[in-house]
Amino acid sequence: MGIDVGGTFTDLAALELWSGKLVVQKVPSTPREPHRAVIDALAELVSRYDEILSIEFLGHATTIATNALLGQLGLELPRIALVTTRGFRDVIEIGRQNRSEVYNLFVERPHPLVAREDRLTVAERIDHLGHVLVPLDDESIERVCSEIAQRDVAAVAICLLHSYANDVHERRLAEALGAAIPGLRVTRSSEVDPEYREYERCSTTVVNAVLTPIVERYLERLQRELQANRFTAPLYVMRSDGAMAAASQVVARPAAIIESGPASGAIAAAELGTRLQAQRLLSFDMGGTTAKAGAIIDGVALVASEFEAAGRTHSGRAVKGSGYPVRFPFVDLAEVSAGGGTIAWIDEGGSLRVGPLSAGADPGPACYGRSDRATVTDANLVLGRLNPRHLLGGAFAVDAARARRAIDVLARELEMSAEAMAAGIVTLVDDAMAKVLRIVTIERGLDPRYFTLVAFGGGGPLHVCALAAELGIEQAIVPAHPGIFSACGLLGAHVGTSDVRSVLASTGDIDAEEMERRFAAREERARAGLVEQGADAPTISFRREYDARYRGQSFELTIPYDRARDAVEQHFHAAHRARYGYDVPGEIVEIIGARLTANGRVASSPACRAEPSVRSTRSRKAERNLPKRGGATQHRPLWVGGAFVEAPVFERAALGPEACIEGPAIVEAYDSTTYVAPGWNLSVEGDLLLLQRRNDA
């Protein structure tokens, strides 16, 4: 069972182990008490069955950590203390000295997570090779312990200079604090992020410390409620990097679950990629307020090693300095404010603009009947792409006249027809969304034309054809239940760990034997940790990698590890070529970090038990089904290329396995509508809808 708590809805996906059938449930989220919605969703599901014998596995995606950092109501961050090297108290506040908006004279730094008076320093110094220059003295330790004891802090972060090279001082401090103040939560930088660059390491440590009490309290409460309702399945939480961790592990590393929600959508797409043996997928998730894109290669969602928590994005790219750097791996997604609720407006220059403001779920689009501001959903309705009477299979009535009036206001201002305005709104939102797809492909050195687009979220299937066409993509997939697809990502779960150790040596200076021994020892520890979290031992696999760069550069690429120096250098040259278009043979290659990722299936997870049956879509393109126009449940006027045409509307559930529909057409389902654009064919592949561009188009 997977439960994904989002901003507006909490989605549940459950797999019936006896039948292989997927059951879904959607309930409103309860932002002030997010665990409530989880229990609500479970209760709703239970009420649909006479009896649920047992829940074998419970995977969970939560926005609790992000919301806490964003300062959401009811989630005040706790007071914490930071211990750092004397003379460097302000590193955490100064950051990298840049400002996040160049032309904003009123720009602010992100609110500091630890106040200056709670930043304590100790006299000590270690150099970059790990040599102790100034030993940490007992008097300093005692002073810090007593000062912290006098403060009412919920957690302590420790970050000393060069502790990645030698953690002896951080350990001594942590032990002393633990002994002096029993129960105190301590995060030390050499444990959570043992890599160089003091600001990023300190920030990661502080973010982890400040989240510890909040995530601990949330998970405790959730588990208590689950027990009280007799749901006894072990609880797993999706991490930002797309692996899951047992709740007990998450409590010590809460900074690893900040991007929990977005990761589960990408992981659902990655699982789909594995199932279909697809080499290159682009996951595209469009909800009510945002659209997210990510690349998936050979069933693995691409991961980046650092992000800014609670930071802002500007047209899909992260704004440096707007958030709190966290050096934990996360699924590399680009995000833009574009969704069904995104508001269209006309700016001072008389130009039509779409976003970034969103009407969200409340008041929602004009057609929901509580607002008169035109949104993307209203535009889709005016164009006939959405059902003009109701959504959610009839459960939710919409006011088409109000949507039209809202669009009309804008249309009159620019002296055009309501339909042309609606088409313009859709064009502009498609344009904004195409950009995030470009960011995760073209800007990362990948060619989008070789990808299959997977469109989900409530709005993805409505816009999929236009986006594919814009990027030159030939084929797209709409999964079963696109509206709760992210929750499905919690079903095929594996537990994972990943960590980096600082190396900082050129390839020529690495002792291959020693490196091999260290990796082997780390693997043993990781294996034991995963088994403890319930992983099925034979399924555990490891990935060893290096973070490497050319000498003189200050940014790294992650490459496969090899004990042979030549092979490492070849890997690096190749990676540099692939990413940046050139390499520099003969230049010294430096290894900055040694990265180990471990993964294993959870013994009780459904993927170990049952595999839903789906036929592969590969080679499907070769066979050409004859398009059919029959079988439509109804027709309705659809705005296509400047005029209305009577287009067939199909019900997804009624589509047989041999269905092949020629666009323009509409396919309606409970949680989403798919718009098959002119020039595209739609066919059914198992539980998926497959969209292909017609060669004659």
Binding site: I94, Q97, R99, Y103, S351, T427, E443
Partner: protein, 523 residues
């Protein structure tokens, strides 16, 4: 003709094309300066050389890139009969390209079916272009030629082949030749990306629609800029501030009369001091960038940056003055110091019209630290960084402490990286508490960074300002604290001037304290 939706799509596509050029440059660049600090800018121009889109990371390139493009095209036309299909032209002469020698500008004429349809251009900061000191910013330079290698416009690409002999010339004139050829290659890649996107738009929409859309886009920016300028107010407003000469006297005056009238801004720098025989002169392109930075920040930074934004703005700086020097006056510090002061002066003039929209003066210096030397094993090294200062207090908020203000926005170098790569040890890095000017809102405090030389021998060069005259406060706010330099040798701390260079010995500790920002209001 074109409809508003198509115009909007083309406008977004042009901005995205410029951004994608920037990413292509960053991806292909070798040096951290471009790759990580993003010290580069990219732009697209129409066939008349009008700016149609710009992705700017560093404000000092704003306005100076279009100015430089015009100069370059003039010279290419006059001396070489114009730019041809398949070529790219490169230059770094500040009096042509618009900033300082480190900024190398590369221009690509874009042709479709034999017709010129526009230009793709970019400018990137090359860490070393020769001259008497590493980093090419010698404080003692008496003229441009002492600052480094000067390139007048010359073809870098011909028949779509990079001319190796020109790359070789850049390599031969730099202490870091591999990074130079790597970064030039990145600039070439950036222009090809811009060309590809411009051609795609041309193919998709046709010349007529594209031209019509560009007219509308420029007109729209102009209209919004005029409206924004009108909203500031009207009248004539005077402001002045001073830079300190090498003896520390704050006598290098920047004087401005700003006239706001019917949506137009006229900036007259008459009364500004004459050019000086040391590198604080700012070429006119740099002067323009300070003006456009300040106007953009006070009006509306969401206005699409193109030629339309420049139309209602007129800038006059007397020839031979600090802000419009005659060649070959030295200019390397104009970019980093004079540009900062100019931005504050323009902002203070605007503040008289709209005091609630402008902060007090900033710390106003990039506090440049250039260290270089030899390790005991004979290896040489060079280190350059700029340091943040205190931001001026804002009408409703305190100024931010220890931050890059106005014309710069780069990332600092991590201490753990410095100590790994150079024979240096950072012994202190903190906010200089209480150095912001007092007032109803407090100015931001400067920072303190103390660096020790661990071994070998070295030479240090410092270039900073506001060491004798603090950042003025606004509306009765107090001035920000002064910057301070000192050298601790054998346990004795001695003060150092703001602009100096000296032998740096093992065990010496150099302490840089940067100035605070001005306070805002009384009480």
């Amino acid at each position: 003709m074109t409809d508003p939706i198509t115009t909007e799509v083309i406008k977004n596509a042009l901005v995205y094309a410029a951004e994608e050029m920037g990413i292509a440059v960053r991806n292909a660049a070798y040096s951290p300066n471009i790759k990580e600090r993003l010290d580069h800018s990219c732009a697209l121009f129409d066939r008349c050389g009008r700016l149609i889109a710009q992705a700017e990371h560093i404000p000092v390139h704003l306005g100076s890139l279009p100015w430089g493009l015009h100069r370059m095209l003039e010279i290419v036309e006059r001396d070489h009969g114009g730019a041809r299909d398949g070529e790219m032209w490169v230059a770094n002469d500040p009096y042509i390209a618009g900033t300082h020698l480190n900024d190398v500008t590369l221009v690509r004429p874009v042709f479709a079916r034999g017709q010129l349809i526009g230009y793709a251009a970019n400018k990137a900061h090359h860490a070393d272009v020769g001259g008497s000191v590493p980093g090419s910013m010698p404080v003692e330079a008496a003229d441009l030629f002492a600052e480094g290698f000067v390139a007048a416009p010359v073809r870098l690409v011909r028949g779509d082949c990079v001319l190796d002999e020109i790359v070789g010339l850049f390599r031969a004139n730099s202490r870091t030749p591999d990074a130079r050829s790597g970064d030039l290659r990145a600039q070439v890649a950036g222009n090809y990306t811009g060309e590809r996107r411009l051609l795609e738009l041309y193919e998709r929409y046709g010349a007529q629609t594209l031209d019509a859309a560009i007219e509308r886009i420029l007109d729209e920016s102009e209209r919004r800029m005029r409206a924004a300028l009108t909203s500031i107010g009207h009248g004539t407003f005077a402001a002045e501030d001073y830079l300190e000469d090498r003896s520390g006297e704050p006598r290098l005056r920047i004087a401005l009369r700003l006239t706001l009238e019917e949506g137009c801004a006229r900036l007259d720098y008459s009364g500004t001091c004459a050019q000086v025989p040391f590198p604080l002169n700012a070429v006119f392109g740099v002067t323009l960038s300070g003006v456009h930075y300040a106007l953009r920040a006070v009006t509306d930074p969401t206005i699409p940056m193109n030629e339309g934004c420049f139309r209602p703005v007129e800038v006059v700086a007397p020839e031979g003055s600090l802000l419009n020097p005659r060649r070959p006056a030295p200019v390397s510090g104009g970019n980093v110091e004079t540009s900062m002061r100019n931005a504050d002066v323009v902002l203070q003039a605007l503040a008289q019209a709209a005091p609630d929209r402008v902060p007090a003066s900033s710390g106003g210096t990039m506090s440049n630290v250039m260290l270089g030397g030899t390790r005991p094993n004979g290896d040489t090294w060079a280190f350059y960084e700029t340091n943040g200062c205190g931001m001026g207090a804002r009408p409703a908020r305190d100024g931010i402490d220890a931050i890059h203000c106005h014309m710069t926005n780069t990332l600092n170098t991590p201490i753990e990286a410095i100590e790994r790569e150079y024979p240096l040890r950072v012994v202190r890095y903190e906010i200089a508490e209480g150095t912001g000017g007092a007032g109803r809102r407090r100015g931001g405090s400067g920072l303190i960074r103390a660096i020790e030389l661990v071994e070998g021998s070295a030479h240090a060069t410092l270039l900073a300002d506001r060491h004798t005259r603090g950042a003025p406060g606004a509306l009765g706010g107090e001035a920000g604290g002064l910057g301070r330099h000192s050298l601790t040798r054998d346990g004795i701390e001695r003060p150092l001037p703001a602009k100096t260079s000296f032998a740096f010995e093992p065990g010496d500790v150099l302490t840089v304290q940067t100035p605070g920002g001005g306070g805002y209001g009384t009480g």
